[in-house]
């Protein structure tokens, strides 16, 4: 099997930690936004929609640089958080999670939004006639029916987060043990003489993780269809 060195394990585990935290923190925001975009009409909706998708089309280095300006030590938000709450993003793994979460957000929101849009609104009306407040309708009908889509979004977001490179390295650099994820470790290794074997091992790990995520997302999508048909 793969003979993974301790340094490589460090990068793999850090990537997993960053991607898990990024996905878990982004999920509630993703669900709220997906619901808003799927179910509500409001002024500025198309602008919000574009903003959500922006990290997908913006050069990652631009996103990373903007994060540095905003959440860096001397940034507007970063300075406030560091001084008042002791939360520091710059050059920390938490910053990597922030960058990955932001970059993964469009991919995370999309399946959630599609699955909410696919739910028959008349089921939500039926719930209302049975005495459910809009809040209860969401938690007893909308969310359970959208659950496979929510999970698919989480898996895709996770897959994106674990492979994110450009925004992360721009924002938090490439510090082994702190901010060096699988991607930035591969980047360092291929610039090092004799780094090819180690880079190759990490490449295989990346491919396995990404493929696994795609298969899982596909499986959840199938579950969604079965769920909506009540079988």
């Amino acid at each position: 099997m793969l003979d993974i060195s301790p340094a490589e394990w460090t990068a793999i585990l850090l990537s997993l930690r960053v991607a898990v935290i990024a996905t878990l923190v982004a999920t509630p925001f993703g669900i709220a936004l997906a619901w808003l975009l799927a179910r509500r009409e409001f002024w500025g909706k198309s602008v919000l929609d574009a903003l959500v998708h922006l990290p997908l089309v913006l050069p990652p280095v631009v996103t990373g640089y903007l994060l540095l300006l905003t959440f860096g030590r001397r940034g507007l938000v970063g300075g406030f958080l560091a001084d008042h709450l002791g939360i520091v993003f710059a050059f920390r793994w938490t910053g990597a999670a922030l960058a990955c979460g932001l970059m993964a957000f469009p991919l995370l929101v999309r399946p959630m939004r599609l699955s909410i849009e696919a739910i028959d609104r008349r089921l939500e009306q039926a719930a209302e006639t049975l005495g459910a407040t809009p809040f209860k309708v969401f938690f007893t009908v909308t969310l359970p029916l959208a659950l496979p889509g929510v999970l698919a979004g989480m898996v895709l977001g996770f897959a994106k987060a674990i492979g994110e490179f450009g925004a992360t390295i721009t924002f938090v650099s490439n510090i082994p043990g702190e901010t060096q994820t699988i991607s930035s470790a591969i980047y360092s290794l291929i610039q090092t003489p004799d780094g090819d074997a180690a880079a190759g091992r990490l490449v295989i790990v990346s491919i396995v993780l990404a493929l696994g995520a795609l298969i899982a997302a596909e499986w959840f999508a199938r579950r969604a269809t079965a769920r909506l048909h009540g079988n």
Partner: protein, 220 residues
Amino acid sequence: MLRVDIEKQLGEFSLSAAFASEGRVIGLFGASGAGKTSLVNMIAGLLRPDRGTIVIDGETVDDSVAGIHVPTWRRRIGYVFQDARLFPHLNVAQNLDYGRRMNRLAPDPAQHKRVIELLDIGALQGRRPGKLSGGERQRVALGRALLSRPRLLLLDEPLGALDEGRKLEILPYLVRLRDEANVPMVYVSHDAAELRQLATQIVMLKHGRVTSFGGVKVLT
């Protein structure tokens, strides 16, 4: 029991209806497109009238002048839709229990048993809606509405999606419901024969207007 006096503009279509009824089963009769479903949706609170009042059991649930519009979930109505609309992620027992849970009503095993026997749905409890026939689905939908203990039951063409055989299967249950369940009903149909069997009073709708009102003889 039910007093309606409303106006509503829906695109090109204008609906204007006024009637008051103490009948046990108010039959809302008219061709498709006459405004029956819109009117029932207004009674349910799913649509808000542009002008007018709706009073259910003495409570004003809509009054455009006073700015009253009681939301659907607080109207304590039961609504049986043409397409049943059972929750696909819940089994039959959970569907039946939904209204009781949402209204935070104490379990009432006697009522539960009575409704399940009345509709003959005891054997379906563990099944998912996808595994039910059209007639079974409609019976479960009736049970679900009844078990939320509504003060008014709205039935919008509950037999509309069923073939003749299935209709004859469900009709006796509806007759029993009328005679035993003690819940006033608004029954929407375009089928005069169906209403003659069930309704005690008829409101006839044509192009968004009430054209006649009275006993079942107005159907002839």
